[in-house]
């Protein structure tokens, strides 16, 4: 091998190492996006479904000229709990503080921890639906066979667009760590 090709081999290996470092850094960058996005969502308040809505309390003006029908829905995601609202729907005035109940029962022989995730339909209603108290604010651990009745306290913002007169609040209960070993 000539001197020239040997030098070139050395230069090539050096460049390769640099490029490998770039690739490794970008692999790390992919994971760094996770806390980055969490921060963004926290700062911008995009993902505040697990916290009480702050402005809710001061909003006490009740708009008695309107009625909004609020419907309740309950689901479980591969979690053998029974989970249902104790009332299918209620009719409320915007601004009126309302309490409803959900019931959940662990049908398993072991204690299970679950987390409920709320969602709204239609989507446009979501910003006007304020929960002051909700079982979804924290994880729920149920002993074997335990049943529990859990309240949701909410108020609908009177600024709800007039064309919306029905809103559905839907919860899905997931098992915490439920992904483990259930990929089948």
């Amino acid at each position: 091998m000539t001197q020239q090709t040997e030098n070139r081999g050395k230069a090539n290996r050096k460049l390769m190492k640099k490029l490998l470092v770039v690739a490794a850094v970008m692999f790390g960058f992919g994971f760094a996006l996770v806390p980055f996005y969490e921060k963004i969502c926290e700062v911008t308040g995009i993902r505040n479904v697990f916290q009480p809505d702050a402005e809710a309390a001061q909003n006490t003006q009740v708009d008695t000229t309107r009625n909004v029908s609020v419907e309740f829905d309950a689901n479980t995601q591969r979690l053998p709990w029974t989970f249902k609202p104790l009332q299918a729907s209620v009719s409320v005035h915007p601004g009126e503080v309302t309490q409803v109940q959900y019931e959940v029962r662990n049908t398993l022989e072991r204690p299970v921890t679950g987390q409920a995730v709320p969602s709204y339909s239609p989507q446009q209603a979501a910003p006007y639906f304020r929960k002051m108290e909700c079982f979804c604010f924290r994880q729920q651990t149920l002993a074997p066979g335990e049943a529990r009745t859990m309240p949701v306290v909410f108020v609908i913002d009177p600024k709800l667009p007039p064309e919306l007169n029905a809103v559905t609040l839907s919860y899905t209960f997931f098992e915490v760590n439920g992904a483990r070993g259930s990929g089948g």
Binding site: A11, L19, V34, Q115, G178
Partner: protein, 529 residues
Amino acid sequence: MSAVIDSGHAHDEHRPDGGIMRWVTTTNHKDIGTLYLWFSFTMLLVGGMLALAIRAELFQPGLQFWHPEFFNQLTTMHGLIMVFGAIMPAFVGFANWQVPLMIGAPDMAFARLNNWSFWMLPVAATLLVGSFFVPGGATAAGWTIYAPLSTQMGPGMDLAIFALHIMGASSIMGSINIITTILNMRAPGMTLLRMPLFVWTWLITAYLLIAVMPVLAGAITMLLTDRHFGTSFFNAAGGGDPVMFQHIFWFFGHPEVYIMILPGFGIISQVIPAFSRKPLFGYSSMVYATASIAVLSFIVWAHHMFTVGMPTAGILFFMYATVLIAVPTGVKVFNWLTTMWRGSMSFETPMLFAVGFIFVFTMGGFTGLILAIMPIDIQLQDTYYVVAHFHYVLVAGSLFSLFAGFYFWVPKWTGRMYDEKLGKWHFWLSMIFFNVTFFPMHFLGLAGMPRRIPDYALQFAGFNEIASIGAFGFGLSQILFLWIALKVTVLGQGEKAGQRPWEGADTLEWTHLPSPAPYHSFDEQPVLG
């Protein structure tokens, strides 16, 4: 890891003996280029068969052939195989053959690594295609493998994840090789701004690959740990967020679509001047346009996610950034057209594909612009309009550029001319059937037909029927291409090609090497004046 340059043997024309071991152990860039090209063509046919299975089902409304679950596997695997098995390896094959020839280098920088990069691919392809046969079948989460579907599917998903890991590693190794070759092994006198455009586009593409393939690897590693190790990156119950998967995926995904088109731009930028018998118009603006497309491609990913519920400021940012990409893209199209302007053009098959490319790719660019307008995209997201858009840029863009490159360089590779008459047939059949297949999809999308469904409402029947007929025509036309390729390569038929069969082509492989290019070329590097 041996990183020794293949410094060539004392006597030049000693090819290794035939037999399978030659191909398994080869470190020669030309052999490896050939392997890549045959591999990717095989995957094109496999992916094409899946596409025909899709179009057969969609020929009529109702469920004819497949269960909906299997249909979803078909669309998913079609996408994965075409993107990672056909288009990307095909361009790497071109890089292997052409980059050393065009910069006057004896071989790729890391010849042994090069062999590994290739041979990882058949392993990955076997895992991927084999996943059809595991319980539950192949992954059906779409080629974008969105969570939470992808955290819930059966073992086929795991196989796909492994296959993607391997293909990603192969791409990264290949890119390191290409960058090193281009930066360190150019012939004396070939400054960066004298490199042929194909080399430039690959240099930039290789950087893109190194930047984003690891991000994909990270995303699918998170999927894997969510699936099996109890993490909750994308699991809402555990505090994760499925939408975050989309963000990470598209941070890879949008640069990825440019990875699949930039080397195609490079090929077109070689072919157009050669058949216009004029130098490329605006060479340096081409280089800068390519670079700015690459840079911009990192800040537009959320145009795939306009409907997830982003803040308005975010939507506006991604919308404007996306529209901005049309500027450098427009510069390129302008330069190609201006290169042809008053050139003494001739229309052999490579040029037909190149001109066809400009025409049809540009239509895909326009539909991209329409989709980039968020209020419109809200209507069109996940409809057949998007399917039409990306097939215009990927089939008529990437694939047609690959065909153009094949017809352009095959005389140099084999020393023989392909069958010009059949080549022209291949072009016209492909062009016509491509449009018969995909043009109606614009209308389907505008009328609201969702993508990735096995059945549809009656009013969509007419256009779907046309699209399916076109698809079978397009598929059959590629059998003609197989025959053309076999004839000129394996069977060794066709007129003997001179050193420079295209008089307008002036890069090193045409001016300094005979046809076929010798097994070892540029052991003595040419010196450019």
